[in-house]
């Protein structure tokens, strides 16, 4: 699947993960620190993924206040 990442902004192809939770584990990302979107839709950790999906992993942490 095609994965869009932020901080820094980049794109990558990842094969294998069948769920959002597996994808985050593969990328060593904490579920609490990100949201995962497919198009405009927020998807949860147990959501199934397909090889032709395009997903965005958006960090939720901001450093300034």
């Amino acid at each position: 699947m095609h994965v869009l990442l932020q901080h820094p902004k980049r794109e990558t192809e990842i094969k294998g993960p069948r769920t959002v939770g597996q994808l985050l584990k593969r990328l060593n990302l904490l579920p609490e620190a990100v949201l995962v979107l497919r198009g405009d839709e927020l998807i949860t950790e147990d959501e199934a993924l397909k090889e032709d999906d395009i997903v965005e992993i958006r960090p939720v942490i901001s450093g300034g206040s």
Binding site: Q6, H7, K9, L30, P31, E32, A33, V34, L35, L37, D40, L42, T44, R58, V60, I61, S62, G63, G64, S65
Partner: protein, 287 residues
Amino acid sequence: MPRHNTSVCAACLNDYVVEQVKRAIKDHTMFGRGDRILVAVSGGKDSLSLWDILMRLGYDTAGLHIQQGIGDYSEQSHQKTAAFAESRGAELILHSLKEKEGAGVLELADLTDRSPCSACGVMKRYNFNKIACDRGFDVLATGHNLDDEASRLLGNVLRWQEDYLAKQFPALQATHEKFVKKVKPLYRLAEREITAYAVVNKIDYVIEECPMSVGSKMFVNKEVLNRLETDAPGTKQAFYFGFLERQKQEDLSREDETIRSCTRCGQPTTAAVCSYCRILEKVKTAP
């Protein structure tokens, strides 16, 4: 939402977020229907969502955006904030550091040997408070969320900075005639929850982080807390809310005796000359 052991649809997420903000406002008597609220808006998810929620609840609000002069990042922050305000017909007050103070955050940091975050913090706190007072607002609202407060608490506890602990409350009364009351209506909401609110409601916010904040201690503390939260959902809430419960037993209404008026500008400070005036002095004497 692991800390509540549940998943919610978009409509229920909105109900949950709004209810948490209503509860925060009520529990800490933050403001009422007759009050004018100045919302500090950076263009990020928290402050724009806060402004959106307060308008949704029918409060009398205006936004205040400080243009920091940090290149494309500040330009994008200004554009997103202005577009948000225009789309809702809301009043937005702009304050450009380059125009009003004569230098942006990066130049101010260079002139004073401060870090950009330190210079930015002084400029924001001073201008938020002064503009709110000068324009007759009753209260200043900022978009600090549960993760901001829990990570700040962690940092303060690790160094036993007890003076800072006393000030880390969701509502701070005006303890000087030139202080405005300051409130944090998002303190009950996790950063992930408020980001989801922004996404679901199609709030167009700045996703990129401030380039000056790379490697900040705040990120490290949040990362640590998120690891704890992943292992034991509810940890951040228990940590910060537990602190607030203990704070309630203290006398929070006491006057801060160390606050006096700056001998140059008259604004509240703990020193003879406030940090803002000391920074501005460097701008005036710069070659």
